[in-house]
């Protein structure tokens, strides 16, 4: 099966006391292996909620979500944690690295929870840092790295477990335009090497790096367009 994400009629209802708010009102789409998808929309459009559901951080109220063919909706907390660990890699807007911790140990963290021994961990993490162009900075703490470098560490951390899907939530939100370009070029290169990427952004020029744009508004997908060449290999 080549669909990495298969979402059918997903709804998400938030109940806060007396008030109810439906953030997703029946969303369906499929992402195939090797795609680079940008999810766009204004704040409150439901794109972040959708991202959380894709990232197995938040369960949908109803609907069906298959990740790599596995029905995620039926899993318990520990199974979801393992899915996040082995199938997903996260890149956040605020980098979310552990403070006062060397870059290489940040990258090792997913391997720690995967139960991989310390020597092997170090080898894999070093290779991942080299892949994102940070050879020589392995033992710098995050405070000693620039924003772009920190995001590269975060990307290396997301890739270290060889996930099926790389999820990026506003990955360039905290970066200047030159660094944004650098990071987006890195994403493009990773995508070309076969990694499936789903990225949330509200900037059109960032979204333009992706081959496909999904636009959300008021809990619905209002457009699904292919702008660039995509590597569909089915």
């Amino acid at each position: 099966m080549s669909a990495v994400i298969s979402i059918t009629d997903i709804r998400r209802l938030f109940i806060m006391g007396e008030q109810q708010f439906e953030a997703l009102k029946g969303v369906s789409f499929t992402v195939n292996k090797g795609e680079f998808v940008a999810i766009m929309g204004a704040s409150g459009s439901g794109k972040s909620t959708c991202m959380n559901i894709i990232g197995c951080l938040d369960p949908p109220t109803s609907g069906r979500y298959l990740l790599d063919g596995l029905d995620v909706g039926r899993m318990d907390g520990n199974q979801l944690a393992d899915i996040r660990n082995k199938k997903l890699g996260f890149v956040f807007q605020g980098f979310n690295l552990l403070a006062r911790t060397p870059a290489v140990e940040n990258v090792e963290l997913p391997l720690v929870y995967a139960g991989i021994g310390s020597k092997e961990r170090r080898i894999i993490a070093m290779a991942a840092l080299e892949q994102v162009g940070l050879a020589g900075k392995e033992f710098n703490h995050s405070s000693q790295l620039s924003g772009g470098q920190q995001q590269r560490v975060a990307i290396a951390r997301a890739l270290v477990n060889k996930p099926s899907l790389l999820l990026a939530d506003e990955p360039t939100g905290n970066l200047d335009s030159a660094t944004t370009e650098e990071i987006m070029n890195l994403f493009t290169a990773l995508n070309q090497s076969g990694i499936t990427i789903v990225m949330v952004t509200h900037e059109h020029d960032v979204a333009a790096f992706a081959g496909r744009q999904l636009t959300f508004k008021d809990g619905h997908i209002i457009s699904d367009s292919q702008t660039g060449p995509t590597d569909r290999k089915d």
């Binding site: 951080l57 938040d58 393992d82 660990n85 979310n96 911790t101 929870y113 139960g115």
Partner: protein
Amino acid sequence: MDFLQTIKISLRALRTNKMRSFLTMLGIIIGIAAVIAMMAVGSGASYVISQQIASIGSNIILVIPGSTTSGGLRTGGGAQTLTSDDVKAITSECRSVSLAAGTVRSTGQVVYGNLNWATVITGATPEMFEIREWGATAGRSITQQDVDSASKVCLLGQTVAESLFGSADPVGNIVRIKKIPFTVIGVMERKGQSPQGTDQDDTIFVPLRTAQRNLVRSQHTNNIGALMVKAKNEALLDKAEEEINSLLNQRHRITNGKEPDFTTRNLSEILAVAQQSSKAMSLLLGAVASISLIVGGIGIMNIMLVSVTERTREIGIRMAIGARKNDILMQFMTEAVMLTLIGGLLGIALGAIGATVVSKILSWPTLISIQSITVAFFFSGAIGIFFGFYPAKKAAGLNPIDALRYE
């Protein structure tokens, strides 16, 4: 996730806030130090008491002369109301009694060569040595034959032997007690201090009859100063005391309402009371120490809660990249247990130093047992588990999305 890694992570977290970690530990350090010092002082005291009990001999009842009234004048203590016949009667008629011995005491100067020493001279029978479980290390003890023939032989206590003979062997030499020459037949085992604090080795023993005839001034040579009785076993102590009382009342014609001319004293009982009060003291100190441990534990819980709130984002990151609830729970539990265990170890060291200082300065005996150290160590770990559980549970129960967004 392996345990070693969990420990490494928690130690790193503690190192990040060194001052805070230390202040948090302080409660546990003080509590554990108090427990260790208290146990050391308490078990030191009860060790001394049990040594003293052993030095007196077990299951002993002392009968001493009471007050007498003659012509309206009451006298106590010095009166000589007990006789060797009382001893014989108690031995043959009191069924709970295994041994009885009469003694007389006198003080006097002992002279050997150009050295002299003032000491207590006790007239004794072989039974007394048996009751007190006190033998001779050199030479021999006093025999029944010595008593019967009133021979002029003596046994020296360690202190007397040292002050008159130094390191030389006294056995066979002649010493003069109140100007009468006595042959030294042996030296007694060392007994140490009595519960009253007197030196039990500063004494000389002579056969009872020799003392009655030559050393003690009394109306009758049959009089004895005190009576020592050994009950058959501990359970029969009270029964033996009753039997002695009723027998001596009868023999001394003490009718109802008349004041007895003797008093019985149960020595083991007095010491048991002392032991009890030292135990009560230990318990009280223990209660104070446990309160400080509980306060320390609450401090740990408080700081762990602060730490969980501070590190909400970190928890979110860990959850997002695949930490299970249990991994987070273990991480914070380990951190709390590390705090208390390190605090416990420091407390044990501090308590041991404290106990040593107390014993040096106040010359109070202390005893630090492996047992108390082990108990303190595991107890401090248990405090970490108990007080660390709630904050760790709180951390593990966080929603990953909320945790990631926490500012």
